[in-house]
């Protein structure tokens, strides 16, 4: 059963205030009676601040947007970029769809698994990296490609991958 014990009141107060500060300008993009449209941006702000979109973060977003927590949960569980569970500190997402695959995406995937000592998609023992395959990133002409912490890297080679991961804190 999902643990709903940690409600909004369980979230650190200063982070909730930060959430509200970041959400305010986003809300101006939608008509005042259509605040619920900001669900994806709200959950993304929450994810950046709290690490993942936990039930408490979903409840926070729903409260601020005047909608139900189930609406927030529906969105949080539908979109792949919204994480409902904790991930490693850095998220490494490799495209293995056809255009990337035809031009080295599979080797890139194999290389990263080996480099991070993972058998497949997963999080490293030290919690530093979460590695996974993702669908087409729209980088087919500059393949192979990956996202690292939501930033795109293209025309990858093993040495470029080493450099990118090496520059992370």
């Amino acid at each position: 059963m999902t643990n709903h014990a940690g409600g909004v009141e369980g979230l650190p107060r200063e982070k909730v205030e930060q959430f509200d500060r970041e959400l305010a300008p986003i809300l101006k993009r939608y008509p005042p009676d259509r605040k619920a449209s900001a669900m994806i941006p709200a959950l993304r702000i929450g994810q950046a601040l709290f690490g993942h979109v936990s039930p408490a973060v979903q409840a926070l977003a729903a409260d601020r947007l005047g909608t139900s927590p189930s609406r927030a949960e529906e969105v949080a569980t539908f979109y792949v970029m919204l994480e409902t569970h904790p991930t490693g500190r850095h998220l490494v997402e490799v495209c293995t769809n056809v255009s990337c695959s035809l031009t080295g995406g599979d080797q890139l995937w194999t290389y990263l698994k080996k480099k991070l000592a993972l058998a497949g998609a997963g999080t490293t023992a030290d919690g530093r990296y979460t590695l996974r395959e993702v669908e087409c990133l729209g980088s087919c002409g500059t393949s192979p490609a990956m996202l690292v912490d939501e930033e795109m890297h293209e025309q990858l080679t093993p040495s470029k991958v080493d450099q990118i991961l090496g520059s992370l804190t």
């Binding site: 056809v98 035809l102 993702v134 729209g138 980088s139």
Partner: protein, 443 residues
Amino acid sequence: MSETLVLSARWGKPGSATLASYRADGGYAALDKALGLEPSVLVDEVKKSNLRGRGGAGFATGLKWTFLPKDVRPRYLTVNADESEPGTFKDRYIIEHDPHMLIEGIALTCYALDIHLAYVYIRGEFAKQARILEQAIEEARAAGIIGPRLLGKKDFDLDIHVHRGAGAYICGEESALLESLEGKKGYPRLKPPFPAVVGLWGKPTIINNVETIANVPWIVQHGGDAFAALGTGKSGGTRLFGVSGHVNRPGVYEKPCHYNLKQLIMEDAGGILGGRALKAVIPGGSSSPVLAAHEIDISMEFDAVKAAGSMSGSGGVIVFDESACMVRALARLSRFYAEESCGQCTPCREGTNWMEGILHKLEAGHGTAADVDKLEQVANSIAGNTICALGDAAAMPVQSFVKKFKPEFLRHVEQRCCPFGDHGWGLTQAPRDAVAGPVRYAR
């Protein structure tokens, strides 16, 4: 012979994304011209231009605009920048290199259709592109181009906002996009009513692709007839074709919309990698039926590709050379559709998983000839039986791959393994010329 570049003329220029650079090259002159015209004149020019939607369906843009009910306000414009169809990577370059062209196109469209609020729905993975576009919109707002008065001279208020998705191919489907923009999961809606009648927040909404809208400034500036003349028959203008896979020079090429597919691959994109033989081409994004090597000497115009049994779709051309395993390629594509099916309709939700399972079994050498038949049956059971086009999009590659490459499927069965080995592609590959960003047309 010099070719007209409608969309990519400014790509690669230093600072091309800035307002100053856009204005120095004559940007926002079309908007200035339009403000002296009746909005209906703009709609007529777009109708005359034979502009067809660049997102994949190729629907006549001017005609779509006329579906708005006359007396219902407000109306909204939503620009589809959810570019997620495998093999498609063109809209991102418009946003990266010339975001003000898109903004001017939005302003013109809104002026033409009496729309005062527009959203650009951009896929969540395009973080950089979203930043560039938001910055350009901010620049346009600060310069008074949009806001309470268009170009600071016309009492017509317009606001444009970027709305970022969060990873869902289905949100490129226009009604799923609207659901997502309303803060919900991306479940496509039953149609009719179409979005032009009942769209965002229940109001009439026009949804056009980025590339479609980016053509509007040129059409207003040069006239619909001139745009139509760049193309052929019922398809006006140029298109951005993205070529990827086994070619020497992958990239985006702007060409007349009836450009020859073989020429695009063999000449512009530099031919097949390593001098190997061509095996197959997906001509218009992963959903379009595959063409065998001997079938590619065709015009890329929408109706011409349809006549050849496929779709010009999004203009995303994926090239396979002889080293590629078509079963493996299809297995990967089927995984994509299974992953991206929203789950609303049973044939798609269940069928895409069945197809993926059968294909992985075949690729692993554990399949039977009956599995190949079952694969086709499942695809046929999905096609036409779902709310949105994702079901068809998942079925069409399966139907066409099996039809055109059946011996290759059966070889997997007979040899009880993939005849191309565990790594059918990629490993023998020499690195390609690094192509930074799009390749522009030059002759």
